[in-house]
Homo-oligomer: 136 residues x 4
């Protein structure tokens, strides 16, 4: 089982539940996107108004069990691959206090120049905290 180096809280919302009474599948992508951006901004110095921004090149998710508002969830963050200009995140949607994820996802971020949108190296601050906290 994947061990996630970081776990962040994710609060569900009333309108996250769809007409089947559980979290709509798109909410899991919001959770993954929110968790990795929060962590890069808070720990790695990512500035969404800065020169290098991270765009989603690919993502996927496997849904193993359902969840519903108002239960609180967590996002586990790991690294599948750390490249020169891209990061492949390994992510889990988890219930607090449990190890087995209810959903397992992958998110590929490519860093690009904010202006020209062509690939640019992962900023040093982000690479550094990934190596320390997620690969260490």
């Amino acid at each position: 089982m994947m061990h996630y180096g970081v776990r962040l809280p994710f609060a569900t919302r009333w309108n996250d539940n769809d007409q089947y009474g559980h979290l709509n599948n798109t909410v899991y992508y919001e959770a993954m996107d929110t968790a990795i951006n929060t962590w890069m901004m808070g720990n790695g110095g990512l500035d969404p108004q800065g020169d290098a921004i991270a765009l989603c090149a690919a993502s996927s998710c496997e849904f193993r069990a359902s969840a519903s508002f108002p239960e609180p969830l967590e996002v586990g963050i790991g690294i599948e691959r750390l490249g020169t200009t891209s990061i492949t995140w390994a992510l889990g949607i988890l219930r607090p206090g449990q190890e087995g994820p209810i959903a397992v996802g992958r998110f590929v971020h490519v860093f690009v120049g904010a202006a020209d949108r062509t690939p640019t190296p992962i900023p040093a601050g982000i690479r550094s905290v990934i190596e320390r906290d997620l690969l260490g």
Copy 2:
């Protein structure tokens, strides 16, 4: 009954329905926001990357009947007040072919400088199409 000078289509989405099986109330605000921005961009020359942008200062909605995905809806656009730097839109969520709205809303837009975010006059192109198409 309010007559709307312009009616634009609004397509519903699977995840717009909440656990009560109808459109969540927030979707009506997405509909109103989308309709007036679409119309200002397509007819009045609004450029979201330009010098003057429109921010929402207040909004409200009264919900008279419910609707559900996948039914198509429309947004009726009218003007309640045209000021120097602000527009108060009168909006209706309508079923195609029907006059009586299922929801009636109001949206106050204030134009501000994109950089300093202080009030600036409504761009001439937008004022002009409002006067011609909605107040004419």
Copy 3:
């Protein structure tokens, strides 16, 4: 200034920010809807699968200052009017540790039978905690 009897946390998400770089106006309605449903479910025994459910009959919001992901927010809950079958909530979007709200809203809930969707009295458990915690 309104004093809110209850304050609940509201976590922002990456995709809450729109192209103007701040929380889209619809997010404030998600926040208000989430806070009052969370509170009614957790404190007043509201069961979304039960016989009596709360539908939004009207809502409004006045936006005084902008906020952006990833900042954490709070929703202050108060009561403007407690009727027989309806509740008018007085709501504030707040920054943690601050008294003055960045947005002030109102939400009218009407209780209806889940099956027939006609008005029904506010469940006793909900009325009771409102009287104790918000009107006491």
Copy 4:
């Protein structure tokens, strides 16, 4: 290049654009989910209140080019695998009049009983239109 047997319109919304000024990645999942449910409901007799419902077991998307509100998009629908209780949809997000998708996705639906949420055969009406329109 994949040929999609069906193409359905997908209208973008103001708040679909995130702070990078383009459609947030989660919107593509909303588009795919909306298109296949719209098509199953309109053409295959799927009833979300019925005995057999379709849950998302897995999904993925590869993002090749960005798009922005207010441009209209389309979703191309194809079939990768038609099982006994599950459907693997092959999906493309397309610009009207163009063959090459800006995003390519996959969606695995598993049919389950609405009450017990255990796998159940794909309803005959849905299987039939898939065979006729998408595999014919």
